[in-house]
Symmetry: C2
Subunit: 196 residues, 2 copies
């Protein structure tokens, strides 16, 4: 598992954006959305709360930015030379995300949205996963170009199967993720195995 | 979607067990684990709280019984004559579970476990999914007997892929589940398609 650096993904914000996003997600995991306040984030990040309000006028806006840009939830888009390699690398990152001590608590808090109005949560989650899906596109563009996928393949379905299996095993069943799980999951869904 | 009846699955308990379990899960969804009290369950179910304490000595014990036996979270084990048919029927039930108004709120509250100590949640979830997995075994026993699955198939992996895809699409991406999604998911993971 890679160690998250405090640097946020590029985007508008003050110099302390990384610390602000980290504090936002840590407090969300500890206290839930109801307990999250911009005052507490400012204190934890060591900035004045007016600095936060200047960039993000509300708690919802701050959480939105933190989810999309914090390093702890980020993924690296792999380019291993094969679709199978890229998907295994993505699956391994989902495993890290849902089993890592810091990220697991954040993932749980966001997935359940305690205190978040349902439509607020829905729009946050939609934006988070839409951003991720658009960044994952090159994996599939390259796979189609290499002829590794039939043209009628639905990339979102493939990703849902892979990420979902990790999610169910680690977060719902609460079972340890066995060694080689990422490869087993990917091999179970790759159409290439038809001709294997 | 089938309409949940108030009858709980067989098991020990008072005659009002169905109403008690329903009230437990409804209050969990509304208030989270911290806000759930046996007094409130008794009031909502129209029974004396000593009736509840006689069978379930703690809130954790009551929730455990409710999760395993309440009709709203129950599944029917299908027997359609083919593995594909059975898995599609199971996937459709997961879709109902995570998109149904009543069950969705319960699923969210349980999956996130607000206020539940992490080990308490882990043991609840483990028992819930272990119970379900043992009940799903006949689907695979019949499929192996019909020669529909290679002997080295891992049934839990198949179920994790199928349930996980539904979970990610409906609860994480917060996207509508398209018509035919259950069949698409099952066809993506069934090894039978190798020879299709």
């Amino acid at each position: 598992m890679s160690v998250p650096s405090p640097q946020p993904r590029p985007g508008k914000g003050p110099r302390a954006a990384g610390a602000i996003f980290d504090a936002t997600l840590r407090l969300l995991a500890e206290r839930g959305y109801d307990g999250l306040t911009i005052e507490a984030v400012a204190l934890a990040a060591g900035v004045n709360k007016t600095t936060i309000y200047r960039w993000w006028p509300s708690k919802a806006a701050l959480l939105h930015a933190a989810l999309l840009r914090a390093r702890v939830l980020d993924i690296e888009i792999p380019d291993t030379g094969s679709l199978r390699g890229d998907l295994i690398a993505l699956a391994d990152q989902v495993i890290d995300l849902v089993t890592g001590v810091r990220s697991r608590a954040i993932v749980r808090a966001v997935a359940s949205g305690p205190g978040l109005p349902d439509d607020g949560l829905a729009s946050l989650a939609r934006d988070f996963f839409a951003d991720r899906f658009s960044r994952e596109q090159p994996v599939f563009t390259r796979a189609f170009a290499r002829g590794e996928l039939p043209p009628d393949t639905d990339p979102m379905l493939l990703l849902d199967l892979i990420a979902g299996a990790v999610w169910v095993r680690a977060l719902l069943r609460n079972e340890p993720v066995p060694p080689g799980f990422a490869a087993a999951v990917v091999d179970a869904v790759l159409p290439a195995r038809r001709t294997a």
